[in-house]
């Protein structure tokens, strides 16, 4: 069972990695065989820790480009549902829903983002 505290730690660590773009920070979020879906059933999902680090750095944001606020909708077993609002200094705001499946160590083994632009 994933707890709200574990989800908070993970989302905090995600924001740290988002800010630093440090491969170790990114890698620490995911299991070795994790899948990162940029959209549901993403045909071009990033697979494995190396694939996720490469994809992340390829699409990196710079600190100061964005602001982020989030809330936990709920947890079912080891899957957390996180709603968030990401605003970009340039570009649209996004209402996002993250579906994060955790392993027992608190790393994500599957991540899926539903990103709806406010445009």
């Amino acid at each position: 069972m994933t707890t709200p505290d574990e989800v908070t730690r993970w989302v905090d660590a995600y924001q740290k990695a988002w800010t630093s773009n440090d491969p170790d920070d990114i890698r620490a979020l995911f299991t070795l065989d994790a899948v990162y879906n940029g959209r549901p059933d993403d045909p071009e999902a990033w697979r494995g820790a190396d694939g996720i680090v490469a994809g992340w750095l390829d699409h990196r944001d710079e600190p100061g480009d964005w602001t982020f606020e989030w809330n936990l909708l709920g947890i079912a077993g080891d899957v957390a549902y996180v709603q968030n609002l990401t605003t970009y200094v340039e570009g649209p705001d996004y209402d996002n829903l993250w579906v994060i499946a955790f392993d027992p160590d608190g790393r994500a083994r599957a991540f899926t983002e539903w990103a709806m632009s406010r445009d």
Binding site: G74, Y81, W114
Partner: protein, 125 residues
Amino acid sequence: MTTPTEAEAWVDAYKNAWISNDADAIAALFTEDAVYELRPSDPEPWRGRDAIVAGWLDELDSPDSWKLDFEIEAVLGETAVVRAVTEYLDDRPTFDNLWFVTLEGGRASHFTEWYLARETSGEAS
């Protein structure tokens, strides 16, 4: 606590209302003071059963223009998470849908939808 069975019965009734576009069938899905968000953080949600019926009938789809497949992905307390795929038989794209439906006594008191169009192959992204 909402159960997956209750959630499934609600989505089946939703599908039936989508087919019939019958005002009573739509009204029966929602509590008197329900809120229907057509997107997350909807600035103009439909508020109240009457407004939901009016909004629905204003934007109705013909019964043979779509196909909905769904599963109850999770239940978070009173709120069911419904994962759906909507295919349209006209020129609209296929949509991935995620609904958060809060149920009270079998009726929805809150509905929020995330939806994303699938890109068709060959389309520029």
